[in-house]
């Protein structure tokens, strides 16, 4: 099994059935996974922040509003059919807590909201999500099955 690693703010697409697409140590970031279940093409983007506010000069997947459409385009370019595409997301945790709270600590929730909005505007259905809470996650997307394995320290593995 080959591991295709998605770094922070990157996106990867694969149709190699012997591989898994992996991103490690997600906190408030969100892994957006798209999967064409007929063509068996999988893609993952590592989203860091909700919106690029017009400053995204390069072609990364850092921001939900530009990164999710880029992942979608990369999927289509690789031969995926939007009609058979489903989305799964994981991450968006609230890693830090303060008595009284702070708007700054809500970045995970805002990332999730922005990702879901971006998926909706591409008319992609959200098949499953493992988001929020207060712990980090490592995720592995199987290209063969579209299964998303979510691992967290001391919490074992959840498959969505």
């Amino acid at each position: 099994m080959t591991e295709i690693n998605v770094g922070i703010g990157e996106l990867k697409v694969s149709s190699d059935k012997d591989s898994v697409i992996v991103t490690r140590g997600l906190g408030s970031c969100v892994a957006v996974c798209l999967y064409d279940r007929l063509a068996k093409i999988a893609g993952m983007a590592h989203i860091m922040l909700p919106s690029d506010n017009g400053r995204d000069a390069d072609h990364s997947a850092r921001f939900a509003d530009t990164g999710v459409p880029r992942l979608f385009e990369a999927m289509v370019k690789a031969g995926a059919n939007p009609k058979f595409m489903v989305a799964k997301i994981a991450g968006g945790a609230r890693m830090f807590d303060l008595p009284g709270g702070s708007q700054l600590l809500e970045i995970g929730a805002r990332n999730c909201k922005a990702v879901i909005a971006a998926l909706e505007s591409l008319k992609l259905s959200l098949a499953a999500a493992d988001t929020g809470k207060d712990y980090g996650r490592t995720v592995e997307l199987s290209v063969a099955s579209g299964e998303l394995r979510v691992k967290a320290i001391g919490r074992g593995v959840t498959i969505i």
Partner: protein, 204 residues
Amino acid sequence: MTKITNGLTFKQREMLERIIKLSTDSSAVALSEMTSKSIFLQSPELNVVSLDSIINIAGGSESVTISVCLIFSGEISGNILLIFPRASALKLISLILQEDVLREELDEMGVSVLGEVGNLVSSYFLSTLSDYTGLDLRPSSPMVVQDMVGAIVSSAMLMLERAPEEILYVKTELSDEFDKIDGHLMLFTDEDSLGILLQAIETR
């Protein structure tokens, strides 16, 4: 996200290193008094690094860390993150509580001790920074979290919506007469704040 283009000037680096040295020296004295042992803090080295490399330096995305994070605000805003490999954090807790047996789990007492260490180190750092720059800086209470390095470092950085590409990073090594304790100190500032901070240092 912008870069600290051209890196730090000679003066900025020299001043920042002096501020860090002064504050870690004060922290070492305070920790020694707390534990009635001699605690040494190796003369710390300042670096400017990217998010990817800082995660690698701190042990890789999935390695388990116990960290303390404080948000500061005032004329500039950002946060301070102290990252300890899990075993080092547990060693530090035992050292401060003057226990002979090493702890295996992070309990409430451990969280409280590390929170105090975070408070101490960051308040010395922020007050020294304040003295040198004239900037008004106020820290939040400490937040202690045990999780993966990648999750903690990226989330601390991304709390700042206008996060810079690069992080001011100090590797520290605490030790008493016998044991070494590894730790990493990171300072995250948003884009505007980093400019104001470096400017304040430059013009002093």
